[in-house]
């Protein structure tokens, strides 16, 4: 969990299950706590799908408004990320489709004297980005869910609604590609 998410979750020490029980009893502050706990993850995931800040924020709002309507009566049967993942993905696909119909072709003169901090990364990460982009989308998705979002293999299978064996296969192939690529094999060397 990153530092900010940890700070947010420290605002309320209850587990997700406890917060959900409170929300089912009508506790809106419990919902706020749960929102703050997962806000950044949902936003980052939405950005991964949409590649657009504004669309990611739209998806963030729509995701939690959709989640809110599940109460009272929502039952958490797995990690909350497993529930939220397909919601974020489907909403992201929907907003992208809507936007692409209205996409303009204006060109910008972007002078990046001050690049946003989020885009600053170690130099070998530039090659990792290129190699990641060359992976099939479904392999990349599994890789990121496993090592960036911290989902277990079973949770990935539930979230993506695919068999566990398929998750393992995609992950294996993704790692094998990274291991074999001369631009990223250094990550695997001792």
């Amino acid at each position: 969990m990153d530092a900010q998410a940890e700070t947010n979750s420290n605002l309320d020490k209850r587990t997700d299950l406890q917060l959900i029980a409170a929300i089912n009893s009508g506790d809106s502050e419990a919902f706020e706590a749960l929102y703050l706990r997962y806000r950044d993850w949902v936003t980052a995931l939405a950005f991964r799908f949409t590649q657009d800040n504004d669309l990611a924020l739209d998806v963030l709002q729509e995701t939690f408004l959709y989640f809110l309507k599940k109460f009272p009566g929502f039952v958490l049967t797995a990690q909350l990320k497993t529930f939220l993942y397909p919601v974020v993905k489907n909403l992201s696909i929907a907003v992208r489709r809507k936007t692409q119909r209205h996409q303009s072709t204006e060109t910008e003169l972007a002078v990046l004297e001050h690049a946003p901090a989020a885009e600053t990364a170690p130099s070998d990460s530039g090659e990792l980005t290129v190699v990641l982009a060359s992976l099939p989308a479904e392999q990349r998705e599994v890789l990121l869910l496993r090592f960036v979002d911290g989902l277990s293999l079973n949770e990935i299978a539930d979230a993506m609604e695919i068999p566990l064996g398929t998750v393992k296969s995609r992950l294996h192939n993704a790692l094998a590609s990274l291991r074999a690529d001369p631009r990223t094999k250094s990550f695997f060397e001792q």
Binding site: E106, E108, L109, A110, V111, L112, E113, H114
Partner: protein, 148 residues
């Protein structure tokens, strides 16, 4: 006779089909110097919004100011390029003795206009501070010169 009449009519009608004067379609670049006057207090940080209010110019570049403390280009949103509005901001963590006082050029905004109409601007100062981060009252102004 008919020939001369035709030539005469063409000569009289020619101005109607002449191209517009070059002045009207000429692209111009202007440099708008942005000043902040902090009176006797050393200026350490500022943030302001610059807007072209009459739609005849677009922002095409931004550069830093005269004093060493604000020599680097300020922070701005790259999406402001080719638009009419930008928020610029900068700060310096130098000691007070190395910060500018009085009226200082903190940035220059380059704009592109098409046509002869003069662009009109609006400056909205959002904040300014001294070296301790305390907000200070300042005055912002802009002065333009045509570069080509």
């Amino acid at each position: 006779m008919k020939l001369w009449l035709t030539i005469l009519i063409c000569a009289l009608a020619a101005p109607l089909f002449a191209q517009q004067p070059v002045e009207e379609s000429r692209i111009r670049f202007r440099a708008v110097d942005i000043y902040i006057d902090s009176a006797n207090t050393p200026l350490a940080a500022y943030q302001l919004e610059f807007t072209v209010t009459n739609g005849v110019a677009k922002i095409v570049g931004i550069e830093g100011g005269a004093h060493q403390a604000f020599h680097e280009p300020p922070f701005y949103d790259p999406k402001a390029m080719q638009q009419e509005r930008v928020i610029i901001a900068a700060f310096s963590t130098e000691d007070s003795k190395n910060l500018p006082k009085g009226k200082t050029r903190v940035a220059t905004i380059h704009i592109q206009t098409i046509g002869i109409e003069q662009p009109a601007y609006q400056l909205k100062l959002e904040t300014a501070a001294d070296s301790g981060g305390n907000k200070i009252p300042v005055t912002a102004s802009a002065k333009e010169e045509e570069t080509q």
